[in-house]
Amino acid sequence: MCVSVTGSYDGQVRGDAAKVSIRLAVVSALAVGLIGVGVAGDRAADNPVLEPSAKSRTVTPQIVSGSVSEGLALPKEHSAFRSEESRSVQEDPHLNKIPPREIRHLELFRLRWKYNCMECHKLIESEWHFERPLAEHQEIRLNHGNNRFCLNCHHPKNRQAYVDDDGSEIQESEVVLLCARCHGPTHRDWKAGVHGRRNGYWDVRRGERSQLGCIQCHDPHEPKFKAIPPLAPPRYPERAAHSPELNESTEITRNVGGDSIGHVGSESRGKP
């Protein structure tokens, strides 16, 4: 900013004042701008419409190494855009390490509006039977063997938590303790790393290993695994001594119009 060298004292004071006031204006404009952005950012976080879709929401896994009571490791879904995830799950793109089940968290999503369980359950009395009179939760069918009551697991007063043997709450971060109430030996095996799958490094001095929690494999309302289609079998040898029909449970000869060993044509079975 050029000030005339020959300017009078008055002019200099006015020039200084102008400089200061301009700088003050710039700084305050910046401050207002930052605060405004901050507020807008908060608003964006609150407003679920601006958030990415809930179904693909990913969770930073808590890596379990050593003591497994520190928390669950929740591996992200298998996607190309992974960020802060354990090295072990991020490597090996050629291996399919997807856990069997995606967890639906406690937050319910209805019309992309996130709400807390207690917002409804404050108003509604808990019932022991599970013929749900209202329309909500009808898609859940409890098929857990002898465990026939919702309130065996869910806390009657706080639906964000689960219930322990003495009526106290079990938080979602420790949900394995809920399953451990009845499945003690399995829980013991899980803590030792023998039940369920571990990924990553067996040598914990050199890397981390992650572990899957109970509900990442088992649907808590229907825990028994469904049967899945197997991946492709090995090719039957072309010059085998006998035809594949003698393998009783193989269905490679029953496919019409081409089977898994590449024979095209429905009637050409076992023919090299």
Partner: protein, 324 residues
């Protein structure tokens, strides 16, 4: 009357010393020479490949792995990387991790949990760069999942070509089999050139550049763990796993034996093998047997454990167990 003196060798004329060249002798000689020539040419085949550039003199005269100096091994690995890039289109990173002290690998598989999905067999193909005819081909996979009838362990009635609509089937259970890295391995005993040996951390390894392809080890193995490359391995570029180990999953040449190494290139870095990482039911457990806190030690202490073909006396490192 015989005038001849007691038996004397009659003088042999030139005609007897050198029988005349008639058609019969000519053809006999020609046939023998042809056979001999064919034998010599076959024996010199590696030299012909040398001329063509199919193999380098270095590789032809390479020493056994245990006699290689570190810089020689380094050069060999770099050459292999370049060759892989030339032949398969992908430049891998071949390393040679050494066995750690105080580590002995062991593997356990929970028979009650295996559902027979074959993800382990396919992951093995994805990890170990075996030859394949198509993306789904698992004939060379080191893992073979046997479908067994419930009630007993009868390997002869097992079936590994099963392909029902869904698994597990009600009346069957599933038992994957791979190399057991036996403590008393028959394969290492019978190898005529000692191309396969037991490493100190338990794995049985093969030096692919030393193997002569006689397949005696395949005959000796009671578990059918070994696979042979009858032709040059066919691995499409998108299927090559570039993280390779010299003794484990580098792409093999034609005419050598390969087998499961418990993913040496992963486990010696401290990671789990590929088959364990993909199992959807967590039926597989791997670890250091010498570590009392490891999962595998827990299993051997607390579960009902058995091994296959115990009567053969191989003392394998692969255990099967039940939960109940």
């Amino acid at each position: 009357m015989k005038e001849q003196t007691p038996h004397q060798e009659p003088e042999r004329g030139a005609e007897e010393a050198f029988p005349p060249l008639n058609r019969r002798t000519f053809l006999k000689g020609a046939a023998v020479s042809m056979v001999g020539l064919a034998g010599v040419v076959a024996a010199l085949r590696p030299l012909l490949e040398l001329e063509k550039g199919g193999i380098t003199l270095d590789a032809l005269l390479q020493k056994h792995y245990s006699r290689l100096k570190p810089d020689e091994l380094y050069r060999i690995m770099r050459n292999l990387e370049e060759e892989c890039e030339r032949q398969y289109g992908v430049k891998p990173a071949i390393q040679d991790a050494q066995a750690l002290d105080g580590v002995e690998f062991a593997y356990a598989l929970n028979i009650g949990r295996c559902v027979g999905c074959r993800k382990c067999a396919h992951a093995c193909m994805a990890e170990n760069n075996q030859s394949r005819e198509s993306d789904d081909d698992i004939n060379m996979s080191y893992i073979r999942v046997l479908e067994m009838r419930k009630g007993s362990i009868n390997l002869e009635s097992s079936n590994h070509y099963y392909n029902p609509a869904t698994v597990p089937q009600e009346d069957k259970f599933y038992m994957p089999v791979q190399c057991h890295q036996c403590r008393e391995s028959p394969c290492t005993q019978v190898c005529p050139v000692k191309a396969t040996w037991r490493e100190p951390d338990g794995g049985v390894t093969i030096d692919y550049n030393w193997c002569i392809g006689c397949r005696y080890c395949m005959a000796a193995c009671p578990y059918d763990a070994r696979r042979f490359n009858y032709k040059k391995p066919k691995v499409p570029a998108h299927a090559v796993n570039p993280n390779q180990g010299y003794l484990s999953n580098r792409i093999r040449p034609k005419g050598v034996v390969e087998k499961c190494t418990f993913c040496l290139h992963r486990t010696r870095e401290g990671k789990y093998p590929a088959c364990l990482e993909v199992c959807p039911t967590g039926a597989r457990v791997f670890g250091n047997l010498l570590d009392p806190e490891s999962e595998i030690s827990y299993i051997l202490k607390n579960k009902r454990v058995y091994i296959l073909k115990e009567d053969v006396g191989t003392r394998p490192r692969f255990y099967y167990f039940f939960d109940k």
